[in-house]
């Protein structure tokens, strides 16, 4: 990497409805735009400057609307992403399946790019329904699998830092 370079990378937050993507982004950045964008056009964008191995990076986070029965993730929003965070709600096992579909969409749209699998809501571990077996497939090519909590902040910084690092290497 060139010395003094400023690297911009697009990251997508992918996951089912209400898995905590927006909360994770909030943990990571100080948001500038209202979340109503997500409900209008299905995405909200934030940015965060990050230094990875002496390289200055600007991470542009596309917080894509959580996929559910009523709204599909727009593939166009995923285009050009250098990596993504795949989020599963630890308390809802059905979100694993949604994550699987989104991963497939991501691969189809972005190709093979680094991603980090996040099992979110680790603060509610008592009511977890998701065991590691369930997400083995999801974790197979992930550069990191992390249990995170947007509430406590557990694993959030690490998740983004690792993804940034992997994106630089890619």
């Amino acid at each position: 990497m060139k010395e003094g370079a400023l690297i911009h990378k697009k990251i997508c937050m992918l996951g089912g409805f209400a898995v905590g993507k927006t909360s994770l982004v909030k943990r990571f950045v100080t948001g500038q735009f209202s979340e109503k964008y997500q409900t209008t056009i299905g995405v909200k964008i934030d940015q965060k400057s990050q230094k990875v191995d002496e390289t200055d990076m600007v991470l542009v986070l596309w917080d894509v609307y959580g996929e559910d029965d009523f709204q599909k993730v727009r593939a166009s929003y995923l285009q050009g992403s250098a990596g993504y965070l795949l989020v599963v709600d630890g308390t809802r096992k059905e979100t694993v399946d949604v994550a699987g579909q989104l991963k497939a969409l991501a691969i189809q749209t972005m190709g093979s790019v680094p991603y980090v699998l996040l099992i979110n809501k680790s603060d509610l571990r008592d009511s977890w329904q998701v065991e590691s077996k369930l997400y083995e497939d999801l974790a197979r090519n992930a550069c990191l699998v992390l249990e995170t909590s947007a509430k406590t902040g557990e694993g959030v910084e690490l998740a983004f830092a690792e993804l940034a690092k992997q994106m630089l290497k890619a």
């Binding site: 990497m1 060139k2 003094g4 370079a5 400023l6 690297i7 911009h8 990378k9 697009k10 500038q32 735009f33 964008y37 056009i41 299905g42 995405v43 964008i45 934030d46 940015q47 990076m57 600007v58 542009v60 596309w62 727009r74 166009s76 929003y77 285009q79 050009g80 992403s81 250098a82 994106m167």
Partner: protein, 592 residues
């Protein structure tokens, strides 16, 4: 290439004679000369394994290109060498480097300076134009009310359009490649805006099922318009305030085409490094255009106020100057008209005017004239020599001063005469007669109409006395009580006549004339009349006469002639005493 099959050798090599060997070599050379040469060259190259420059030169460009495609190690290793080489080159031949970069730097610097100057001049123009105008004051109030800066309010009101921000966005990733803002605009979250613009485009495109190359061309939010130009590798978005002209579209398109042409490879291979796109700043800044409302045809209020003030000032100055001029002319006229003053010249000495000339001591103090016209001695002074003005006015003035006439006397000038009229005491008239002729300019004094009050009094008393009569009984010269009483008043009159005579310098003679009635004898009557006159004279209480004289005269029988008192009483005619005052005719007539 297939080689021709070798012919079978008839003999072993050891059996070959020298002659055969020579012939064989000749044959081989004839048959295999090109291949032989090539083999020898290859043999030489194999033996000398070192790289030949021409070989390296042949493959070097491709080798560099291929290696650079793999990773950046080659570039990294070339950086220090290139830097050192460049540094050395600059040291050794700075002119060469200077000449090389001048064509690039010159326009770039000019462009930057022009842009900065344009912004500065525009800002200055606007500030000047609107700072003092009525509109400017309204806008200041608006700025105060809304909390915006004055410059911002001016901008909003005068702007036709202004490109405030330009985004160069990587089409595939939506990442911001470069971003420029107009002066005074602060960019914020441009990376996010870039992403959102891309997202909105995607959203719209997806929603309406358009092709990938189609895209949103324009967004409008209140006074802001976002124009988006789609390229194959990049998107150019301009945020414009106001109503942009369509020509601006062309500018955006041309800029995007230029950028895409220059950076096509970088756009294709973009992996997030935006530093390489810093060079797009200049073309992008060319898009930061603005157009303001043309100045109104009318001139700003401040101009009219200043013009008004100027005209007012000039008017006041002109009026003042005119007034000063008139005042000065009036002063000159006044000084020229003033009796007893003769101005021969006026000279300006610095800020002071000096009047040279003559002045009669009886003339007005010229400084009073200066004060009258509002001038001070700093502005004008008089340097005048004394002289005697012989105009009638000054002759009269001088006569008044020297003669000090009583208020009952009026003096005038007729021809060459000093004419005195009215009435005055005898003593003053005598003095006037003496002094008058020596007053400069006076050659003759005319007093015909001047009444001598003392002489007039004398005549009055004289007439009064001559009207008095004392009557007697028939044949009698004795004075009764009534007559004696009347004689007291008559005595006073005679004494007063003496006093006036002394004042007038005359010596009147008072005759107490005794008369008798015509009856009887003449001698007796004459005697009786004398007795009667003497009796009255004796009875008069006279003071010591200093000028007049008095005598008793017996006139005998009374006659009707001029010697009788004018008021003679017929009844007592002849038996009475009367009075007559005789003044030297010459002297009296002289007075009258």
């Amino acid at each position: 290439m297939a080689l021709p099959s070798r012919p079978s050798l008839p003999k072993s090599s050891s059996e070959i004679s020298h002659e055969d060997s020579k012939g064989f070599s000749s044959l081989r050379r004839l048959l295999l000369a090109p291949e032989q040469t090539e083999l020898e060259r290859l043999k030489d190259r194999l033996e000398d394994f070192r790289l030949q420059p021409q070989d390296v030169g042949r493959v070097l460009p491709d080798a560099i290109r291929l290696r650079a495609q793999q990773d950046s190690r080659l570039l990294a290793s070339m950086i220090p060498i290139t830097q050192e080489a460049l540094s050395l080159s600059i040291k050794q031949s700075p002119q060469l480097i200077s000449d090389s970069i001048a064509p690039i730097l010159g326009p770039a610097i000019r462009k930057a300076i022009t842009r900065a100057m344009r912004g500065m001049v525009q800002s200055l123009n606007q500030t000047l134009e609107y700072s003092m105008s009525l509109k400017g004051l309204q806008w200041r109030w608006e700025a105060f009310r809304t909390g915006k800066s004055f410059a911002e309010v001016v901008l909003l009101h005068t702007l036709r359009f202004r490109v405030e921000q330009v985004f160069l966005i990587h089409k595939k990733t939506g990442l911001l490649l470069n971003h420029v803002v107009a002066e005074g605009i602060s960019g914020q979250g441009e990376e996010v805006i870039s992403g959102m613009l891309t997202a909105i485009q995607d959203f719209v495109r997806d929603s309406f099922g358009q092709k990938q190359d189609d895209g949103l061309e324009s967004l409008r939010i209140g006074d802001l318009t976002v124009w988006i130009e789609q390229g194959s590798g990049a998107i150019l978005a301009g945020v414009i305030r106001g109503a942009p002209p369509m020509e601006l579209r062309e500018v955006f398109q041309e800029t995007l085409e230029t950028v895409q042409a220059q950076f096509s490879e970088l756009l294709q291979s973009f992996k997030g490094d935006v530093t390489a796109f810093e060079e797009t700043r200049f073309p992008l800044e060319d898009c930061l255009q603005a157009q303001f409302e043309k100045k109104s045809q009318g001139l700003p209020l401040v101009f009219w106020i200043l013009l008004g003030l100027l005209l007012l000032g000039m008017g006041i100055w002109a009026v003042q100057a005119r007034s000063d001029q008139q005042r000065w002319a009036q002063l000159l006229e006044r000084v020229g008209r003033e009796p007893g003053l003769v101005v021969t010249s006026v000279q300006d000495q610095g800020s002071q005017s000096v009047f040279y000339g003559l002045r009669d001591p009886l003339a007005i103090n010229p400084n009073e004239i200066l004060s009258e016209f509002g001038y001070t001695s700093k502005q004008a002074i008089f340097r005048l020599n004394p002289f005697m003005d012989l105009t009638p006015e000054f002759i009269l003035k001088r006569a008044m001063l020297q003669l000090r006439p009583p208020s009952s006397v009026a003096m005038s000038w007729e021809g060459t005469n000093l004419v005195l009229t009215g009435e005055a005491p005898h003593s003053w008239i005598q003095q006037a007669q003496l002094i008058g002729p020596i007053i400069p300019g006076v050659t003759h004094i005319q007093m015909k109409q001047l009444v001598d009050t003392d002489l007039k009094q004398f005549e009055t008393l004289k007439a009064k006395l001559e009207g008095e009569t004392i009557s007697f009984e028939v044949g009698n010269s004795i004075l009764g009580e009534e007559q004696r009483s009347a004689l007291l008043s008559i005595s006073e009159t005679i004494n007063a006549i003496d006093q006036l005579a002394l004042l007038l310098g005359i010596a009147p003679h008072v005759q107490v004339q005794g008369f008798a009635s015509p009856e009887g004898r003449k001698e007796v009557n004459l005697h009786l009349s004398l007795l009667r006159a003497r009796g009255v004279l004796n009875e008069l209480a006279l003071g010591s006469f200093r000028a007049a004289s008095i005598e008793a005269v017996g006139m005998g029988p009374a006659f009707v002639d001029e010697a009788l008192p004018p008021n003679g009483i017929e009844d007592s005619r002849g038996r009475q005493v009367g009075f007559r005052v005789v003044v030297g005719e010459d002297r009296v007539s002289e007075r009258l």
